[in-house]
């Protein structure tokens, strides 16, 4: 904007009355444009000269010449495959509509399986979405492609997606507490050893609350190499740091803390097989409380409904891999739980084993662990279903989330068997339906066709009841969640039969419609990746 135009705009802002002057005459050649009559009066002259100068400038616009600017590197060509066009259309539809985030993460997983990268036009939107929903990041990162990794550093909020190691280390050294924690977790995922070394180097100079905040990052890629560092942290002066270290060691298979706990608890347990009556586990409560027990975290947590000394036993059991007990008693997890049922301290044993199963499952986040790892959680879930309301409290709800996350694997048919167990109770017991919903809701992948067929059969068996007005929770909770995990091809095949059984006027028309709409949409998404690219 020229100085002349700016001054006239300034005059307009102040007003000719207050400024006490008329605008200066226009410079040549524009001066000839103003009619002499108007040029005399301040206000018309101001408006006309503003209009003329604006046009003059717009028609003679000169862009700023190139300043010496650092040339930004261009993005490298993609090494991943392109996204199939129909899948791209489906994504646009998902983003436009009100579909749940679950479908988005399924779409991203399918793209990763296809070996593809996100089309560039969706990158800003999805980086924003995953910034708000960190749960999506694991699915988004593998499909960002070269372009996405090039783009991520451009926005401060997207720094979690920036692959640049230097940026990560910089954040570790100079970032805010949250950024440092995120950087440390990312570093652990890349290189656990050097990340631990960095934490150890900074450890003495960290404030106590910082230590407590940073230590849980070691859960990423936790291994026996970390043990020495964690053992040292058990003697930290801050309680939160000690608790974090105890948790990590308790979930580390083969840790010395686990060995110590086993050494403490083994003398207290005895398998008894009386001639009359059932086999059971006899428990002798520990009598003395030592400083080394406190150091390992015994007696720090509270266990409602369980006495103090029995609580120590729960803490001991919680730090021991439950598979130890299958070996110790030479019984399957299910039979071990049956032993507990006939024991005086059954609730203590179940609670301890359940917490231990949770610890173990949290430590084996990697999907390649043996199917055995799920044997205890599955057995505990079945125990929970069959137990009475008062006993059930021994098993935390979180256990169902863990089973749900790996339910689709159906290792050794265990998932199917668990479904059958659910089915025995779900008509009478609302709590069972809620746990089943939790299990469906947390599923990380589509169920196998066989598992889907099985669940459909179970639903079909109770369909007359399901469709009655008295059973709204069952259909309202389970159908939407099941639509998100069912194998779409199998579920869609059941559509005609289900619809026929519902009829036109039934009040269940809407849930059933929604169920099949969602299933069909998922089916279409899967197909959209299958057509030849």
């Amino acid at each position: 904007m020229s100085e002349d135009l700016r001054q006239r705009q300034q005059l307009l802002k102040i007003g000719t009355a207050r400024a006490g002057r008329a605008p200066a005459p226009l410079a040549a050649p524009l001066d000839a444009l103003l009619p002499p009559a108007d040029a005399q009066l301040a206000e018309p002259a101001l408006w006309l000269s503003l209009g003329a100068l604006d046009l003059w400038e717009r028609s003679g616009f000169v862009p700023l010449a190139a300043a010496a600017q650092p040339a930004h590197a261009t993005a490298a060509p993609e090494s991943l495959r392109a996204c199939p066009p129909r899948a791209e259309t489906m994504l646009a539809l998902l983003l436009r509509g009100q579909h749940s985030a679950g479908l988005l993460s399924e779409w991203l997983r399918l793209l990763q399986r296809h070996g593809g990268h996100l089309p560039a036009r969706f990158l800003p939107r999805l980086l924003d979405t995953a910034t708000r929903q960190p749960g999506l990041r694991a699915q988004l990162l593998p499909v960002l492609g070269e372009r996405g990794r090039w783009l991520a550093p451009m926005q401060a909020e997207w720094s979690w997606a920036a692959a640049d190691i230097d940026t990560g280390e910089m954040a570790w050294h100079t970032g805010t507490p949250e950024q440092r924690l995120a950087a440390l977790c990312a570093w652990r995922a890349r290189d656990p050893r050097s990340a631990r070394a960095a934490l150890a180097a900074a450890w003495p100079s960290e404030a106590p609350e910082q230590r407590a905040a940073l230590l849980p990052a070691l859960a990423v890629g936790l291994g026996l190499e970390d043990e020495a560092f964690l053992e040292a942290a058990l003697d930290d002066r801050r309680k939160e740091v000690r608790v974090a270290a105890q948790h990590l060691l308790a979930s580390l298979p083969g840790s010395q803390l686990g060995q110590r706990m086993l050494a403490r608890v083994l003398p207290l347990l005895r398998l008894e097989k009386p001639w009359l009556g059932k086999a059971h586990i006899a428990l002798t409560l520990p009598q003395a409380y030592h400083a080394d027990m406190r150091r390992d975290g015994i007696g720090t947590a509270s266990h409602p409904g369980i006495g103090e000394k029995a609580g120590w036993v729960v803490d001991m059991l919680a730090a021991i891999d439950p598979q130890v007990w299958s070996r110790q008693f030479e019984r399957t997890p299910r039979d071990c739980l049956a032993l507990a049922a006939h024991s005086e301290f059954g609730a203590v044993l179940v609670r301890g084993w359940a917490l231990a199963a949770l610890h173990q499952a949290q430590a084996d986040a990697s999907p390649n662990t043996s199917p055995d790892a799920l044997a205890w959680p599955q057995a505990l879930a079945r125990w929970w279903i069959e137990a009475g309301a008062a006993q059930r409290e021994a098993v935390p709800d979180m256990l169902f989330d863990l089973i749900g996350a790996r339910f689709f694997e159906d290792a050794g048919g265990a998932s199917g068997a668990l479904l059958d167990a659910f089915q025995d109770k779900w008509l009478q017991d609302g709590a069972v339906v809620q746990r089943l919903h939790r299990l469906l809701d947390k599923s990380a992948e589509s169920w196998t066709p066989a598992l889907t067929r099985r669940f459909l059969r179970l639903l079909q068996a109770i369909r007359p009841t399901l469709l009655q007005p008295g059973q709204p929770a069952l259909a309202r909770l389970l159908l939407p969640a099941f639509a998100r995990v069912a194998d779409p091809a199998v579920a869609a095949a059941a559509e005609a039969e289900w619809r026929a059984s519902v009829g036109a006027s039934n009040e269940w028309r809407t849930p059933i419609d929604n169920f099949f709409d969602l299933v069909r949409l998922r089916h279409e998404i899967i197909l959209s990746f299958q057509e030849p690219a």
Partner: protein, 448 residues
């Protein structure tokens, strides 16, 4: 020739229809599917007893369906079209059933009647004379009203200049509403809308140099009032522009009576926005022998769709008639057939210098020009300053403050040059679509 799924979805009047339509694009929803050279048809079982009969005239494309939906095209039309794009084998070539044939021939008849009507009025001298007398009378009355309105507006602007914008700002929006209402009374409604919008800028937070924008807009309005007072001295074509800016409309029929321009037209950019209670769809198309630009404005009420289907990223053979103007851009579609996806850009994108030259030329003949279409190649979004793009020579071009997707541009470019279609206002560029990897992405819609 059919469109691809993306372009079909762009025809939907709203996102809900797009979603519903794509869910209907499955074979088991349909029966009696068929196609001919001119049309597609099928029957879809809805909630009613008899299936809906849905048909598409492929030439247009134009839709008809027996369902009661007031959306247009309805979900059945979209679903049928999507199904044919996804699975053409489902549609056996067949003779058109009677209900399809009837509709196609009635469409044909209506088009011919449109042409006949125009011709008939032109040929009956008595009717022409009577109509002209009536029009003249109404015209004189309106001109009087506008006259006094313009005088009043000038006085208002003089007062504003005397008091100063800063002093006026404290009086709030009511003052602007007042003058806007006065302009509506004076039958110069478009000026009212511009004044209301200009006043709104003063109270919009986060807008840099609002004062400067308001000053320029008001000065342009002032020039317009002067132009009206000296209308007789202006070239006839520019008179038409001034009248249009003050609210005179030219009827669609009148425009369509003009000689049209034939050619292959490419739909390059589209925006949809609300103006009062109307939904307005502005579409930039380019084509003909001289690679002319044309702006098609369509209006719709509520959720109803627009009458003509123009999807960005398509091209068609057809005829356009331009509204009278010193720099004709706005046009009406007289004939549209053989719509197909865009194979490539027919006209070469220009560089910045050519754009600036043609813009100066345009302002010289039509100084009230609001927006000027551009197709610029070689633009690189600046990673350090998201408000600008740079041309091949590294010169900075500012993006319009209303542009909300600079990061999308950056993502598409990856640091490489882009070809943008948009509007240039003499200082800033408002990107509307991107030509990328052999396809057109319309920012309004394709940038999620």
């Amino acid at each position: 020739m059919t469109l691809d799924a993306n372009q079909i979805l762009a025809l939907a009047p709203d996102p809900a229809s797009a979603k519903a339509g794509s869910q209907l694009a499955v074979a088991h929803q349909w029966s009696n599917l068929g196609k001919s050279d001119a049309a597609l048809w099928g029957e879809c079982q809805g909630s009613g007893k008899t299936p809906y009969k849905t048909q598409i005239d492929l030439n247009g494309p134009a839709f008809k369906c027996t369902c009661p939906s007031r959306k247009f095209p309805c979900k059945h039309g979209l679903g049928l079209y999507l199904l044919s794009a996804a699975d053409p084998a489902l549609f056996a070539a067949a003779a058109e059933p009677q209900w399809v044939g009837d509709w196609l021939s009635s469409r044909q008849a209506r088009q011919e009647k449109k042409a006949d009507n125009a011709a008939a009025i032109a040929q009956d001298p008595a009717a022409v004379a009577a109509a002209a007398a009536q029009v003249r009378k109404r015209e004189e009355k309106r001109e009087d009203k506008v006259d006094s309105g313009m005088r009043e507006l000038q006085t208002w602007l003089h007062d504003l200049a005397r008091e100063g914008l800063a002093a006026v700002r404290s009086r709030g929006q009511a003052m602007w509403e007042g003058i806007a209402a006065r302009m509506a009374d004076a039958q110069a409604a478009p000026l009212g809308r511009r004044l209301r919008r200009a006043g709104g800028l003063l109270y919009q937070s986060g807008l840099r140099d609002a004062d400067s924008l308001v000053a320029n807009e008001l000065a342009s309005i002032y020039l317009l009032t002067q132009a009206w007072q000296r209308l007789g001295q202006l070239p006839p074509a520019l008179q038409a522009d001034v009248r249009a800016l003050l609210g005179w409309t030219v009827s669609q029929d009148e425009v369509l009576r003009q000689p049209g321009i034939e050619g292959c037209w490419q739909v390059l950019a589209q925006t949809t926005f609300d103006d009062d209670r109307l939904r307005v769809r502005a579409t930039w198309i380019r084509g003909g022998l001289e690679a002319r630009w044309a702006l098609l404005l369509q209006y719709a009420i509520g959720t109803q769709g627009f009458e003509q289907q123009l999807a960005p990223g398509t091209e068609f053979d057809g005829e356009l008639c331009f509204y009278p103007s010193a720099y004709p851009l706005r046009a009406q579609l007289k004939r549209q057939e053989n719509t197909r996806p865009l194979a490539g850009l027919a006209s070469m994108p220009s560089d910045l210098d050519t754009l600036l030259d043609s813009y100066a030329g345009a302002l010289a003949v039509q100084p009230f020009l609001e927006r000027h279409p551009v197709l610029l190649a070689g633009l690189v979004p600046d990673a350090a300053d998201l408000r600008i793009v740079r041309d091949a020579g590294g010169r900075a071009i500012a993006l319009h403050p209303d542009f909300r997707h600079p990061l999308h541009l950056l993502a598409l470019s990856g640091g490489h040059p882009l070809t943008l279609c948009g509007e240039w206002d003499g200082r800033t560029l408002l990107p509307l679509s991107v030509w990328h990897d052999g396809r057109l992405l319309n920012i309004d819609g394709d940038f999620a």
